[in-house]
């Protein structure tokens, strides 16, 4: 961090930032939650899910990649923004194959938790795309089910930047874009159960499965059983 710090506001609250910080970084430092899915602490920003969209002095921007600037007036918790966020979360549900009751991520899943936070209660207008991609269970300790993938790219950045391996990557274009592994299957990569990329914090949904650990936390004691995502700090 360098240069002189400056201030701007988020929903009327004054926030301090340093040059080079994004709106989200400054918000986090000030204890203000901006909804997010593809961004996670410790990894580069991708700016792909768009759930963190805010209004920055009237102009929509992804808070995780938009640099903070002096005197910026940021709107975060507005009906308009939350409606758009709900649409985006809906799209992610529609794109994948999500059946929460039988999913081992249920309760720990950030997508599901975001749906609760945004009060996504209406049924979808269209049937989902229902991908039917084969599950890669070749590795002794790890399985990959991309049917629930939300293209957050967190596994990709964690493997490349933290583990220095590059086990995951995107292939394909548009709606056919998906996560693939650097080999014919997971068993033919350097993936290891101790990689950061396959740790619980990285995949926000239930795609990267640590074998023999599923369903170990009983329902009711899972991460988002206690409160809304983003409110963790407030619920005590």
């Amino acid at each position: 961090m360098s240069g002189d710090s400056f201030t701007f506001t988020i929903d009327g609250v004054e926030v301090t930032a340093t040059p080079g910080q994004t709106i989200m970084e400054a918000a986090d430092a000030a204890g203000i939650y901006i909804p997010r899915l593809c961004d996670v602490e410790g990894l580069r920003h991708q700016g792909g899910c768009r759930v963190c969209t805010v209004k920055a002095s009237g102009r929509s921007a992804a808070a995780c990649t938009q640099p903070a600037a002096p005197d910026l007036v940021v709107d975060n918790e507005t009906d308009h923004l939350n409606t758009m966020r709900r649409h985006l979360v809906e799209m992610l549900f529609q794109e994948g194959n999500h059946l929460c009751p039988v999913c081992e991520a249920s309760g720990n899943c950030e997508l599901q938790a975001m749906a609760y936070r945004l009060e996504m209660v209406e049924p979808f207008r269209f049937p989902g795309l229902e991908p039917c991609r084969p599950v890669d269970a070749s590795h002794p300790d790890i399985a990959l089910d991309t049917n629930r993938c939300i293209s957050c790219g967190r596994c990709i950045r964690a493997s490349a930047d933290v583990d220095g391996k590059g086990i995951f990557g995107y292939v394909g274009r548009g709606i056919h874009r998906r996560v693939a592994v650097n080999g014919s299957d997971l068993a033919h990569t350097d993936a290891d159960i101790n990689d950061h990329a396959v740790s619980r914090q990285v995949c926000p949904v239930g795609c990267i499965i640590r074998k023999r650990e599923g369903f170990s936390i009983p329902i009711g004691e899972r991460e988002y059983d206690h409160g809304l995502i983003g409110d963790e700090g407030d619920s005590e």
Binding site: G47, G48, C49, R50, V51, T53, S60, A61, A62, T65, Q66, P67, T83, M84, H87, L88, M91, L92, F93, Q94, E95, H98, L99, P123, F124, R125, F126, P127, G128, L129, E130, I150, S151, G166, F168, G169, Y170, V171, G172, R173, G174, I175, H176, R177, A180, V181, N182, G183, S184
Partner: protein
């Protein structure tokens, strides 16, 4: 043109190709295109070899192969036929042409013949809307196809005739410029004072070299010239912005991706004014102190590659490119040609830069601007072909001369690409400010019922808007004007272009990647007569979210075909709604009855879902 002797790539051959590009991962697109041309695919084994030669992971190489339409991991035919599948082609007899190809080749669209001789595919607009239906046969472009001609073409191809010789028996003996003129008609209907009238060679460059760089920028700024690629950003301001850093290395990039359906003006400039374009790039380089330039030519225009290379060589030979240009001590600039590989979004400035860096064509974020951090993180000016041609002319004739044409906010002339239902499709160089009605009059389109201005990312308007002016602030456009007669089905047009955006979305961000798929489904539902008022509400809400949250201009404009027709042709939609859209009670509908259960279960009914194909 020569087919490779063997089709199976050995690791040594692949390594040799990589070595020719210095094993540089930034040249990934060139490497893979070369492999694709020689071996007709980039197989997973080959990706492995390329990855280790360039120091990348295999999945990173796969990311590039799987992004571009003209690269494939499965073998393509030795002759690959790509039919232009734009709506204009569909309205010009494409069906019969496809049927003829399928019958003669014995394969369907999307297939490769068992002996590996032919592949048949469809592809998005290839920039030949004024002479549709058109096709690429390997790199060669053929236009104004008919079923009869197809039968003759296939007979010749089966006899082993080289695709180029389908244009004419002396094709390969001619100079490159004559070849491309033989292959594709220019259809210049109006030549204006700036670009298509007579232009003296390199007198703008001569003047620029005698001035200080700031003076060059001042003149371009003073001319009021606005970018011609669509957004209309002031050209002088962009140059100035690129100098406001202390970088010692800067780039001038020419955007010859021309991907917006209905646009083909750059094709004509590249054919007839390639020298002027490079002259303009050289002026811009002088203005910002750049020594390196690049032309990004869309893969669909590969037939013009030799012509552009010949122009660059000629300019080097005459001291107009290279070291000490025109004898000016210390004035260095050279240009490299980068071929695209079939991706519309690569025309977006950030995606274009990604593509040149050897990556999938994913846009960069909005900030920092390319003029600050562009190619390889260095200041880069990206301008359209036509903009560079204008820059050269402004330097020659001066800002005042230029401002004397057009309007205050849109000075000078503009090339309009006119196609569709009219007598005189082609290129019109006209001063900004004329009304659409005036242009339609020149084009011979008294029957026009709807016009798409600015391509699918622009707007579709009806007769009551034909009095509007083709200027920034009213009907802005990169130049595409597509005309539809009263017999055309507007919803078919909307359906087609929503499919186009789904196909061309890069997939980086949720709203554009997923949202457009559902907008497309909603349009298809309405087209099938199954739509309800609630579907229109859904379209409006989702469109707003897609436009507001998308990461680049593609998603920010992709709902335009629906939104502009909903606004300008509302009756069309209400007539298609179930129950006529009024308050009458629709009769029992099984779709309706199971809709809610289906939504909650998130499962389709394969018995009752007639309106969804996937």
């Amino acid at each position: 043109m020569v087919q490779s002797q063997t089709d199976i790539a050995t690791p040594a051959e692949i390594e040799a190709i990589c070595a020719r590009f210095d094993d540089d991962p930034h040249r990934m697109l060139d490497i893979l295109q070369e492999v694709q041309t020689r071996f007709r695919c980039v197989s997973p084994e080959v990706m492995e070899v390329v990855a280790s030669a360039t120091g990348l992971t295999r999945v990173a190489v796969d990311a590039v192969v799987s992004f571009y339409s003209f690269l494939s991991d499965a073998p393509k035919g030795r002759v690959t036929i790509r039919l232009c599948d734009d709506i204009v082609d569909r309205f010009s007899g494409l069906d019969a042409v496809i049927a003829a190809f399928e019958a003669e080749l014995g394969i369907k669209v999307g297939q490769t013949s068992g002996d590996g001789a032919f592949s048949l595919e469809v592809t998005a607009c290839i920039g030949m809307c004024d002479q549709a239906p058109a096709a690429m046969i390997n790199d060669v472009v053929l236009t104004s196809l008919t079923a009869e001609r197809v039968r003759d073409l296939v007979t010749q191809l089966k006899e082993g005739v080289d695709p180029g010789l389908l244009i004419g028996s002396r094709y390969y003996e001619k100079p490159p410029q004559d070849r491309i003129r033989d292959a594709v008609r220019n259809n210049i209907r109006r030549a204006g004072a700036v670009l298509l009238g007579p232009v003296p060679a390199d007198s703008g460059l001569k003047k620029a070299l005698q001035m200080r760089p700031e003076q060059v920028i001042d003149i371009i700024e003073d001319s009021g010239l606005r970018g011609c690629g669509g957004a209309g950003f002031p050209a002088g301001k962009k140059l100035r912005h690129a100098t406001q850093n202390d970088s010692t290395r800067r780039f001038v990039f020419c955007n010859a991706d021309e991907g917006e359906p209905g646009t083909f003006k750059d094709r004509v400039l590249l054919t007839e004014r390639a020298h002027l374009m490079v002259e303009g790039m050289t002026v811009a380089a002088r203005a910002i102190g750049a020594e390196e330039g690049l032309i990004y030519l869309r893969g669909e225009y590969t037939y013009m590659r030799d012509h552009i290379l010949a122009v660059l060589d000629d300019r080097r030979a005459r001291g107009l490119l290279g070291r000490n240009i025109m004898g000016m001590e210390g004035s260095h600039f050279d240009v490299r040609l980068q071929m695209g590989a079939g991706s519309y979004v690569c025309g977006e400035a950030g995606a274009l830069i990604s593509s040149c860096e050897g990556l999938p064509g994913e846009p960069k974020g909005r900030l920092p601007l390319p003029t600050e951090r562009g190619y390889l993180g260095l200041p880069t000016v990206v301008n359209n072909v036509e903009t560079f041609c204008h820059i050269a002319r402004v330097m020659d004739r001066g800002a005042e001369w230029f401002r004397g044409m057009g309007t205050d906010t849109s000075p000078g002339t503009k090339l309009f690409s006119v196609s569709g239902d009219c007598l005189n499709p082609g290129i019109y160089e006209l001063e900004y400010g004329l009304t659409l009605a005036e242009l339609l009059d020149m084009a011979g389109a008294p029957e026009a019922a709807a016009v798409m201005v600015g391509g699918p990312s622009g707007t579709i308007i009806g007769r009551e808007h034909f009095g509007r002016r083709l200027v920034f602030g009213d009907l802005p456009t990169g130049g595409a004007v597509m005309i539809f007669g009263p017999h055309r089905n507007i919803l078919e047009i909307v359906d087609y272009y929503m499919g186009f955006f789904v196909h061309e979305s890069c997939g980086y961000c949720t709203p554009c990647r997923v949202g457009n798929v559902f907008l497309h489904k909603a349009v298809q539902k309405i087209r099938a007569g199954q739509g309800k008022q609630a579907d229109l509400d859904y379209i409006r809400e989702y469109s707003a979210t897609i436009m507001e949250t998308s990461r680049c201009g593609l998603g920010q404009t992709s709902p335009n075909p629906i939104l502009s027709t909903l606004k300008n042709f509302p009756l069309l939609y209400s007539a298609m709604l179930k129950g006529g859209g009024d308050r009458t009670q629709p009769t029992f509908d099984i779709q309706d009855a199971i809709e809610e259960a289906r939504s909650i279960a998130q499962r389709r009914s394969y018995i009752f879902d007639r309106d969804f194909t996937q």
